[in-house]
């Protein structure tokens, strides 16, 4: 099963998204990490509905108050998995566990009330824990404080009365206290037994609460980051103004421009070419992040999104050189590609490969890309490359690339993005853009070095 935990390990962009979810409880965080990649349209749609509702609540003052209360309740939620486990295995609990259950039942009741006022009881049904609370609140105090109340046992009350007038260093006190402990234990056993048949209700309530924590966090993020609810389709991937949240925030912090991109993909191979530094890798990463977010039931970073449900998102950036495994960058990349080819035979995947075979000789490298493209021609697959004339039956897109005036401002790695147009355009030219030397020259590389390279390239006499 593919989980959030697994995906954040291999995708740092997605990790950033997950780390920025404002979960209210540690139990919610655990739930999030264990969340599986959703592949059922129904489940995803229900989750989108809930997030959408929560987002709208935030724009109404009255409902926002209820939502804030819901968040406060979640903050008080403790991870009581251990206690719930004991309960379902019919173990006699201790006083502290009983306290945990009482305060849990209390939070649950409060949340149930909030959800009812928000008209969410259908979409997010919360089990009723009133029976549990009443059992642990025999004096009807209405607060979460807990002890083995006198009202549980007449005998206990009597012994405690006797204890009150007794010197704590005396023998009598010790005897009475032991008796008190025994009576208390009897009560605890009795309460535990009564709670055993509430185990399922309480576990369900716990699961639901942690789920609500995810929903509220996803809704808050959707609102703060201006994310959109994707439309599910079976045939296309289409984004208007797709952005990479981390990069966008980083650029904006530096006061730089961030350009979101539009993209349309069918279930067929798509080759993307473009100059260096033109944002091809970023585009692939953005596509992977958005697809993962959508399939973990989150809204996506775009103005509009249409996307299919896939069984996994495979992103090959080709920088996973791992000396520890004794694999070179090429070996590591090619084994990764081999495994995705195998998976692609019986899984519907979104495959995103950045400049495959770029670390080997161009003759074989190009052949590898051609073979790869042929095998993946009927998949949701984007391959970026600098190789020309691949002769593949495919759709081809090109990043517009460098549009700046080469004389005005000297180019630096910091300002180059101002002279780049990251937009994707349809391109039927078989020859890829030759802008590497131009960019190198604008970046201030040694003139003799550039001229020499130009001579060797044969592009310029």
């Amino acid at each position: 099963m593919i989980t959030v935990k697994e995906k954040i390990k291999e995708n740092t962009g997605f990790q950033y998204i997950v780390e920025n979810l404002q979960l209210m409880s540690s139990a919610g965080r655990r739930k999030l990490l264990a969340m599986p990649l959703l592949t059922s349209t129904e489940v995803i749609t229900t989750q989108y509905d809930c997030i959408e509702k929560f987002v709208t609540f935030m724009s109404s003052a009255e409902k926002k108050t209820l939502l804030v209360d819901l968040q406060h309740q979640l903050m008080r939620l403790h991870d009581i998995q251990g206690t719930l486990h004991n309960l379902s295995s019919h173990v006699v609990l201790d006083e502290i566990e009983l306290f945990e259950l009482k305060s849990f039942a209390f939070i649950c009741m409060a949340m149930r009330k909030d959800l009812a006022l928000l008209n969410m009881e259908q979409q997010l049904p919360m089990p009723d824990t009133q029976t549990v609370f009443q059992l642990l609140d025999p004096d009807k105090s209405g607060v979460v404080n807990f002890y083995i109340y006198d009202s549980y046992s007449e005998k206990l009350r009597e012994v405690r009365q006797q204890l009150k007038g007794c010197d704590s260093n005396s023998e009598t006190y010790a005897t009475l206290f032991a008796q008190q402990n025994e009576l208390q234990q009897q009560v605890i056993e009795k309460i535990s037994q009564q709670l055993w048949n509430q185990a399922t209700t309480l576990s369900d309530a716990f699961e639901q609460m942690t789920y609500i924590d995810l929903i509220q966090a996803m809704a808050v993020q959707a609102l703060e980051w201006n994310l959109c609810r994707p439309t599910l389709s079976d045939t296309v991937i289409e984004y208007r103004n797709l952005f990479n949240p981390r990069l966008k925030q980083h650029k904006e912090q530096l006061g730089l421009r961030y350009q979101a991109i539009d993209i349309h993909l069918n279930e067929e191979l798509c080759i993307v070419t473009g100059a260096n530094m033109a944002g091809k890798t970023v585009m692939l990463k953005s596509l992977s992040i958005a697809q993962l977010m959508a399939q973990f039931g989150m809204f996506v970073p775009a103005e509009r999104a249409i996307l299919p449900i896939v069984e996994d998102v495979v992103l090959c950036i080709g920088d996973e050189q791992n000396e520890m495994n004794g694999l070179s960058s090429f070996a590591s990349e090619i084994t990764q590609i081999n495994s995705l080819l195998q998976r692609s035979q019986n899984e519907r995947l979104l495959i995103l490969i950045d400049e495959p075979a770029r670390t080997t000789n161009p003759l074989e490298g190009k052949a590898i890309v051609q073979a790869l493209g042929t095998l993946l021609k009927d998949h949701f697959c984007v391959i970026t490359t600098h190789y020309s004339q691949l002769g593949l039956p495919r759709r081809k897109l090109r990043v517009k690339g460098f549009v700046g005036n080469d004389t005005a401002t000297p180019l630096t790695p910091e300002n180059i993005n101002q002279f780049m147009d990251y937009a994707l355009v349809e391109d039927n030219n078989e020859v890829v853009p030759h802008e590497a030397l131009r960019i190198a020259s604008l970046l201030g590389c040694d003139k003799e070095f550039i001229q020499l390279a130009e001579t060797f390239s044969g592009l310029k006499k």
Binding site: D79, I96, F99, S103, L163, S168, Q180
Partner: protein, 341 residues
């Protein structure tokens, strides 16, 4: 005893022992008893594990903490379940210590409890703030073996120092050791102007010039000061060490200073880990130590018995110590025991 009145002026109090078995717990029990008589709602907890029934180092009997109706205590799950009193749980901390979660409870019927508490001062500070927010005006923190950090003025507003025969059965030595420690507690504070400059600095070693401007000397910690490459006195003879100060630093300062009289500023006395000898050498050369904030010492209590069985003459010991320090010293054992719980 007059010092109880003094305690009430503060939001938090730490009880620190100069040595193990100096009667910290007796002192705490006395204070709790008096506060109960006066009807002051009090919370009590400890730093780390304390309040064990037998002393794990000397295997001597150790009095438990007695808490009274209406008081609040914070202890670990393990010790909560072993308590000999009736109380109701108010909250359980989600974080887990080696003895389980920390339980906060209100006493319904008085009795004894073993105290264990948060292991970090950050957590202690938060607990004090929480108790205060819940309307408990005073929180007392029982110290643990060789833990001084709780007495830092950044954690607790006031402190009681427990000393006694366990420090040394020789009265002269006891006085000398206590006096040395007392000197640190009473180190002078720097002026407000300089405090504003130095308080935000959290790491490294800084030099302060004549205009009161702080310059980072590029030494990450006073412990890392090994080479002579750094000119410590480029800006004058005042230095501020943000972290702990050891003998080594004092020696190095003395070695580099030449004829200059150094003023070393530390955050508070709990940051000083220096021996009497090193301090004496430092002072002899004209050195001076100042603190950002001074701790409010409420009282010194003395336990005349040592775990090895020595017994000092209580009256003589208290008198001599009191005379040497110039403040009253109390033998809390001598105070009549509370007749009722």
């Amino acid at each position: 005893m007059p010092f109880i009145e003094e305690i009430l002026k503060h939001r938090s109090l730490s009880i620190v022992g100069l040595e193990k078995n100096t009667g910290k717990t007796v002192c705490l029990n006395y204070v709790l008893g008096r506060l109960h008589e006066m009807g002051v709602r009090t919370a009590v907890t400890s730093i780390g594990v304390d309040g064990e029934q037998t002393d794990s180092v000397y295997a001597t009997a150790k009095p438990e903490i007695t808490v009274y109706e209406g008081m609040r205590f914070i202890t670990s799950e393990k010790h909560y379940l072993q308590r000999q009193l009736i109380s109701q749980i108010v909250s359980v901390d989600e974080q887990c210590t080696s003895l389980g979660h920390l339980v906060t409870a209100d006493v319904l019927s008085p009795g004894k409890v073993l105290l264990s508490g948060a292991a970090t001062t950050e957590k202690l500070k938060r607990q004090i703030a929480e108790c205060s927010a819940d309307g408990v005006p005073l929180t007392i923190i029982d110290g643990a073996l060789s833990r001084l950090s709780l007495a830092s003025p950044t954690v607790t507003d006031s402190m009681i120092l427990a000393t006694g025969a366990a420090v040394s059965p020789n009265l002269q030595q006891l006085i000398s050791k206590t006096k040395f420690f007392y000197k640190f507690i009473n180190l002078e504070e720097i002026d407000n102007q300089l405090l504003k400059t130095l308080e935000p600095l959290t790491s490294g070693l800084w030099a302060i010039d004549d205009e009161g401007v702080a310059h980072d000397l590029g030494v990450a910690s006073a412990f890392l000061l090994g080479s002579k490459d750094v000119n410590l006195f480029a800006y004058g003879n005042r230095l501020f060490a943000t972290g702990a100060v050891s003998d080594r630093l004092l020696k190095q300062l003395s070695a580099q200073s030449g004829e200059k009289c150094i003023t070393l500023i530390v955050r508070d006395f709990t940051k000083l880990f220096i021996t009497q000898e090193a301090y004496a050498t430092f002072v002899r050369k004209g050195g001076k130590i100042l603190v950002l904030r001074k701790s409010k010492l409420i009282a010194i209590c003395l336990n005349p018995t040592s775990p090895q069985g020595f017994l000092l003459d209580s009256e003589r010991a208290c008198g001599a110590l009191s005379e040497a320090l110039g403040i009253p010293v109390y033998d809390v054992m001598k105070v009549p025991k509370q007749t009722i719980l």
